[in-house]
Amino acid sequence: MTITDEPQAGNETPGYKWVGTRPIRPDGLDKVTGKARFGADLVLPNMIEGAFLRSPHAHARIVSIDTSAAETMPGVQAVITGADFPSPDDMAPGDAFQAMKIMARDKVLFEGHPVAAVAATSRAEAMAAAKAIVVEYEVLPHVGTVGEAMADDAPLLHDTLITSGIDPAPDTPSNIAARNLLERGDLDAGFAAADVIVERTFTNKPVHQGYIEPHAAVADASQNGRANLWCSSQGHFDMRSMTAKVLSCPPSMINVTPAEIGGGFGGKTTIYLEPVAILLSRKANRPVRMVMDRDEVFKATGPTSGAEVRVKMGVTNDGTITAADVWMALEAGAFPGSPMGPATMTALACYDIANFRVEGFDVVCNKPKVAAYRAPGAPISAWGVESVVDELASEIGMDPIELRLKNPAVEGVQAPYGPAFPRIGFVETLEAIRDSDHYRSPVAPGHGRGVACGFWFNIGGNSVATVNVHEDGNVSVITGSPDIGGSRSSMALFVAEELGIDVDRINPQIVDTDTIGHTDVTGGSRVTLSAGKVVVEASRKVKADLCRRAAKAWDCDIDEVEWVQGQAQHISGTESPLSLAAIAKNAGRTGGPISFTHAENVRGAGAGFTTQVVDVEVDEELGHTTIVRYTTAQDAGKAIHPSYVEGQMQGGVVQGIGWALNEEYIHRADGTLDNPSFLDYRIPVASDLPMIETIVVEVPNPAHPYGVRGVGEAGIVPPMAAIGNAIERSTGCRMADLPMSPVRMLEAINERNAAAD
């Protein structure tokens, strides 16, 4: 179902022939038949295998490392430790932290922190040699949560970490890396004006992105200092620049070829294996492949932050939210850089609130460094804020959607993080859910229904596209954006629409860093907007050139030529139209190959909003929550390939359901992880879920030629609160800690029953 604010004529895609259709993805056949090559699939002649030795401790000083036994073991070709890498002391602070994440130096800061790496002729030999490395540790006290890490007497991870965002800056180090504060109006007056005030504290544990494909990389370093790297990532240009910084070499000395990617969700926007594989390859003078197993993925790659969020909000009896005070602290893991910034900026972005204060802290602790995860930070703050908004609605006896419709962010409202919103579609998503079959249907006896909303900025950024017309009139569109969610199809649809040819005639390709200009990561919901924009512009250059060539053939002025439905036409009708194939066939005689590139740092990202409703049933004997029905409405701006838009919306919701009900890192008292496998870290599977119903709202982004906003991230923001709200309305239990697992549900139900007795 699609809702737009423009008239429709019974067509899913008014005004377009190809944009808005649902062709089969061009990479689909290779993927379902196993032909597509993912990160671990590459095999090079003479290639050897790498393996890590990782820290068994959450926090320890490295007293000594003895690699002598490992170096003489069968098959071993190279052994490296932190001493083989350029010193972090010579790097900018952020780069130094990245370098220390890749390979520990004086201290290990989380279980799984790499301490050494080995390359050998087989993986078994490499792993055996890694085990033979002798490391003497002095175990240090660790901090596992923001509460522990922020305590006055907390053991420090970094002796030089001074909190930023405070003026004057503290004169002593702490585990608090940064603070952000957003404030407007008069908080005391706002709460004084409220008839009802709700104040609660919420927590969540780290959760992993849960991509199916573990990290993998193959490196082949040459004696001349250059290196070729193949890896699965969300952005091979960023992999290159980060790797080059860790190795202190020019980025242009590394060529990165993108492998197919088996899921990322933000977690593959950073490096883990790449510099290590190159260094091992340099030392062994052979290609080296490194592939993580699932245990390593859980222990040593970034989940998103565990956090504590305190929310206090006030509302009048007529439904005006008068004040909001939000405090949050997010775990960064072992190095600074939690998504605290966007968590604070998104916390109240759905609403127009006159008086608010949002304060956030980025806190290091002895866990793996967090990585981006779909709308980084936004789900964490929304879990608290959207739960309290629901409780405010209950307290004043107002429908939760009506309360939100009384306080919505709309065009012209100043966002909590500063600028005024341009045209946005938040209200349209609220109305879409309010008017949906789901929301209008009665709640079944014993079930509960919850609503929550979410916001994500969406971003633009650097993209490059080349459109090549082949001699047979078929077209290649070449970009540097790894395809995670179906972007090959979207790029092909843009070209088809612009050139007026069948989408099957277009071959979308994603190429290596030496072949196309710098392209930012596939993340931030930016590719359809940004890569799409440069594809459209390159296609328009091609179209203009085709008209010029037709004018040359017809010996007429270019103004007398127009491009209509895939062919050049003379406006007088006196010439036979020239098809793309006909012009391409004679390209050599009309100016040479037809190939145009467009490069741009694309602006004009359009903010995305979503509203979701869920019905749940809680088994009060087992504590198990069943998702009975789930509907999500999201403003896509324009759905270029509606199936992939719906897929992004559904994927975000499903990951949110896992975050809400089951997923969590469980740590032992010594700071080591107790559930580093998919057996014990339970993500939702198909049998856990109903069909996630989607309503694609289309309020076009005026800054994009096709109105695109971006859809990859907002969908994961509301589910935790929506499900928590539904559980409360079903059981009377207001849940405050994620996940709302059977164990926690039973505790809450027992507390409720005890209070009633």
């Binding site: 405070i166 003026d167 504060l181 971003i459 919901s525």
Partner: protein, 80 residues
């Protein structure tokens, strides 16, 4: 002239919510602000984006500022 609106974090340094500055570019604006509040230039450039008339621009140092523009400095946004 452009109007610069400071977040609460930056207000701790500037002591004011907003200021009018005659600056033709972000680079010039940052330099002028740093002259007035020494050290703020680093805060405004390290991991920060700039919103000019509502549009958030990640790498804005060389952006021109139209007369009458409203400028906000905010944490840079990445994504997942």
């Amino acid at each position: 002239m452009v109007t610069v609106k400071f977040s609460a974090t930056l207000k701790a340094t500037t002591g004011t919510d907003e200021i009018e500055v005659d600056a033709p570019s972000v680079r010039r604006l940052v330099r002028l602000l740093d002259e007035r509040w020494p050290g703020i230039g680093e805060q405004l450039t390290a991991g920060m984006a700039v919103a000019i008339n509502g549009e958030i621009i990640p790498d804005a140092m060389f952006e021109e500022l139209p007369d009458g523009a409203e400028v906000h400095f905010l944490p840079a946004i990445a994504g997942g």
